[in-house]
Symmetry: D2
């Protein structure tokens, strides 16, 4: 690429980005998604000291069926430390180290677009899905890092599927309570992740920390921005999370209690008619169809439908009455793309369009 | 075997039983379970005309890892028709033909212990799980077949797991509403059943007819016998049913609204303390532990725990508060044993003890 | 599409093609591959009487993760009978009916590009892989159908992987004997194909007819065209074929006895240096790399590498000495694309370039 | 148990055994197999310092579907060091530490029955399968540890299946060369072992070190004991090893070149007629049928047949002519039982019967 692309209608210099390391699926998905990206160039890959100074191809166990882009493969892995020649960074850091390293980068003046969980629920940090709560991005103005740095996060993968399906219902009818049972794919656990002896031909009905995230994050995501802070939605969520032997694609069985009573067909209509608030922004990673609503009773299925819209479309089906709450349905989302790396990249694209991400004046430009 | 065994403390002639054909897992499970049974001898295997007159081993595609018992393997398959030299019959018939054939046998004077769905919800036919509603067996007295025949059914496999877990809670606290999401094994679909191309590394969020059965059957099973009929329990159930790539063992994520409020520990205690109403009957197929309650957060899992108690124990775990209803937990049951063939055999054992199944006086005895 | 495309440097009318029905993966792969094809338009889908007169979308159980092309989905399925408004037909017919129907079409004047097995070994019918034996196409001149029709076949899927890897070795060193053990994917068995209860977590060491095809077809494919007929290669092959729980991609463990002794590095070099004889023809379905040779010890793997080159590249790895024969290695190929539908389409492209496939003058053109 | 059992026709004190730790499947299989063993009592479990001083149940991630025996579960794990109150030890140690620790125990006077690979090929150490080479046990007399200690090993799991099938053919016809392609189960890699993301729906055509073991170990196992040493069999073996998504049970496709030519039926007969040389010893872990020969074309399969004979029977099927060598067939064995823990226990039973394992006079007996 030539380092220039059309953004906001003008030819513009591409953004230089560093990727703060992560094991497994997420890291590699960042690199796959950013390969050939029209606005963003990967200029640095940062990982733990164990990997530092190696060529990326030697530091990573590449598990994707698409080969690693050649230029990234040869890139030397840097160890963490906020002195990168980059405009901003993506963080796919492991939860145990994300808090400290991301804060270091923010303090050093870097915008951090994070897929890690550490900062998600902090009051002054946006938890962002562009189609769901794009205005929450303005929280970055409230962050105090004594620099131009800030942190923006995207939600836990299973939260994403749930919240994308709830957004139209909250808008149209209000939502009071949600029961959700997830059937989550292996790639959500990273690499090496779940041992094959544990999961082949089996279900594990427990994922550490997952149910708490699913109960908490949607309230913030669906909350209202008021006076520079988020008023969480008054919503009760109960989650049961299971690991299943599926490679990619989380399936969620959702049951919803809505506030202003409406029939199943009105719910279906609200989901089909939902207009993404960013549809006019032409963000490169935004799918043509944010929500895909299936009418046949066998869909959506993770292996068939998670990859729709290059993994950025959220699929919904089997919309029917719930005997206990009001309506129930099934959601499928691609957990490593829409639910992780792709979501973070879309967040960056939104922040570029909104003007929050800027080209940093770096020494070698001077 | 010598045709005699100890029943009710006395040496007794074994019951001669016929098996009304079925494809796949259930049929074979009947034969596996009845091999070496102390009270029951398989004397006839009955199947469709396509299989009739063949040796059983040539008519069946045996899919179990334990070999087919040698004497059954050589038995000639009979075509359906109620002229068997048997005391009663088990029916694992396909749903499409079960209604008519089972009725024919009942009219011809045979007790029919059925695993098929057709007659389950009929008012005068017991839907029976010995540990849950043993007194319902007396409905057979009300049946009018102009003969000594009658029909007793066991529930749909996923119903069994749910109802076994609910029985103690209904007794202790009352239950008002239930949300259940199932992750069901492949063997529940029989053979050939689910194509591998459809389910390998995938989830199919639809099982034909399953959700309706799960919503209806528990109300009858947990109902009260009054004046010779069942008063269904006032209970609302919402079910979401999924097929997952597991060989054996249905997992169910259950959330319960109880009537007399009680904490999670009281619920756990009620489940652990439940005393099976048939524990004194020493039925050969009754497991030492009807319910197994796990305290660790990773259990139960279908591949590890479905086979507990020779597949007749129902496992429960992850008992915790539900933010929307009251309490939630996970149930695992072996679907082809406790949920099908083993359940039917246990029903027969109960009916023998209760005196409903008798030795028929057959011509060749005279 | 506008019905015109560039072939042989000129804008040309696209070829109208009919697809003679087949169940499962192969049929659908034809349609996926032909969607957006620059030279070929699908104008008719033909299937058994059971499906005839239905819309294609209602007649097919679509199992691919990419949706069925919209125009095909709405096409009315025709029943078999050689009165199509097409220039030629693809046949993905079931083996039991392919012989008769394909002959009918050939007699009626249609070129038949067949993926079915029936006619493969007939002396006057080419068994064709463009990169392996493009000159064998001229056998069509010898066919006697009393019309302009002819039949060209592509090999059995597992044959394709083996022969593509052997071609360079036959050319460079001569090959005397081959031992091959296959680990074949589920999609090779069509749909519904292998029951999940049979194959989940298992291996089935038998595939009906497969070992005989693998032993016979390579001798014809690698044979020499002499005086209008094929002199088979003097080559002994022993095959052991297994079904494994993999969705797509056959893996073959191959051991080769070569005629003119050569070390492993010479073999590796011959495989890497092989120049496809059709590389100058710019056929749309020909991959940029016909053979991909891996040097690392973990490759190739079916899930990671079968889809290389849009499923048309054949992957080879683990080239090492064989203690019993001379050299051994591992081959992976995409069985439904390179090994079936994609191979047939590439054959059609070659036949177009070679001039064997022509635009038929049809009545409605007059 | 009461510490006494019938051995050699007399009631005898049971042997006290320690288990030298190992991760995963093998360790647990030892404990499962030794539970209820008539001759052997587990008196100590030894593991790395990380696990030492914990209760066994807290130190192990128990992955079997049968629960851990209660008395073992409560046993305190000891750290390695040869001061155990035991008559001998089983070693399921990790390859990296087995050499040193096993030698320490042998020097300290303990017989070590090892499943680890380190000492297998040492000239003075028996590599033992009781049905294959029981006389090789006498090599222990040649070992020089300055004590009564010695080491006996069992082979690598995939070697076991091959060699058990070859023994009758070597005896009847002589065997000159073998080609073997393995499809190996996940449990062979221990726990956590193979990541699920790597192997679900996939094949990995490489297992580190496996092909070399398969090429070397059979020559020693099938060798001749002469003048106190083993003369290896003159046999050439070429192996290709693959990991497949199967839980338990290695499948091996074998092709054999025999010395004295014989037809397929003679080979089948030799396999069926083989009489185990230990069949008169009544060893508790010896299966009723050492070899099971299948005549149908679909058998053996790992999931259906690996567990025959409690996992100690080796299954053989699809015996047919090989076009390149002489005869080919398929072997299935249970890799963690016959191929690991069960094989080691059977070795101990043989050594007890042969008089090599004795009750040690321990201080607390005095």
């Amino acid at each position: 690429m030539n380092g220039r692309a059309t953004i906001n209608g003008n030819m513009a210099k591409k953004y230089r980005v560093g990727i703060l390391g992560a094991t497994g699926a997420v890291w590699q998905k960042f690199i796959e998604i950013l390969d050939q990206h029209p606005w963003i160039d990967v200029k640095a890959v940062v990982a733990s000291e164990r990997s530092a100074a190696k060529a990326y191809k030697d530091a990573v166990k590449w598990i994707s069926s698409s080969p690693c882009p050649a230029d990234i493969a040869e890139m030397t892995v840097l160890s963490a430390g906020p002195q990168l020649d980059c405009d901003f960074v993506f963080s796919g850091l492991d939860a145990r180290v994300a808090g400290e390293i991301e804060s270091d980068f923010a303090r050093a003046g870097y915008p951090v677009i994070s897929n890690a969980g550490f900062h998600r629920m902090r009051d002054d940090i946006p938890l962002l899905i562009p189609e769901v709560n794009p205005t929450h991005a303005s929280l970055v103005n409230a962050q105090q890092w004594d620099s131009e740095g800030f942190i923006v996060t995207n939600p836990n993968c299973s939260t994403v599927g749930l919240v994308c399906a709830l957004r139209p219902l909250v808008d149209a009818f209000g939502v009071e309570a949600v029961q959700v049972t997830t059937l989550q794919a292996l790639s959500g656990a990273g690499f090496p992740g779940v041992p094959s002896l544990e999961i082949l031909g089996n279900v594990v009905p427990f994922i550490n920390g997952e149910e708490a995230k699913l109960a908490a994050e949607p309230r913030k995501l669906l909350g209202t921005l008021q006076d520079g802070r988020i008023e969480p939605l008054d919503l009760t969520i109960s989650a049961q999370c299971n690991r299943v032997p599926v490679l990619n694609g989380h399936l969620e069985c959702v049951s919803v209690k809505i506030r202003r009573k409406a029939g199943v067909e009105a719910v279906r209509e609200a989901l089909k008619a939902f207009k993404s608030p960013i549809s006019d922004l032409c963000l490169p990673s935004a799918p043509a169809h944010f929500l895909k609503v299936f009418d046949d009773e066998n869909s959506p299925q993770p292996r068939l439908h998670a990859s729709l819209g290059s993994g950025m479309t959220v699929s919904i089906g089997r919309i029917r009455p719930c005997e206990v709450l009001d309506v129930k349905f099934v959601v499928v989302l691609q957990n490593t793309i829409r639910g992780a790396a792709g979501g973070a990249v879309l967040n960056a694209e939104l922040l570029i369009k909104q003007g929050y991400l800027k080209h940093r004046v770096l020494k070698e430009d001077g």
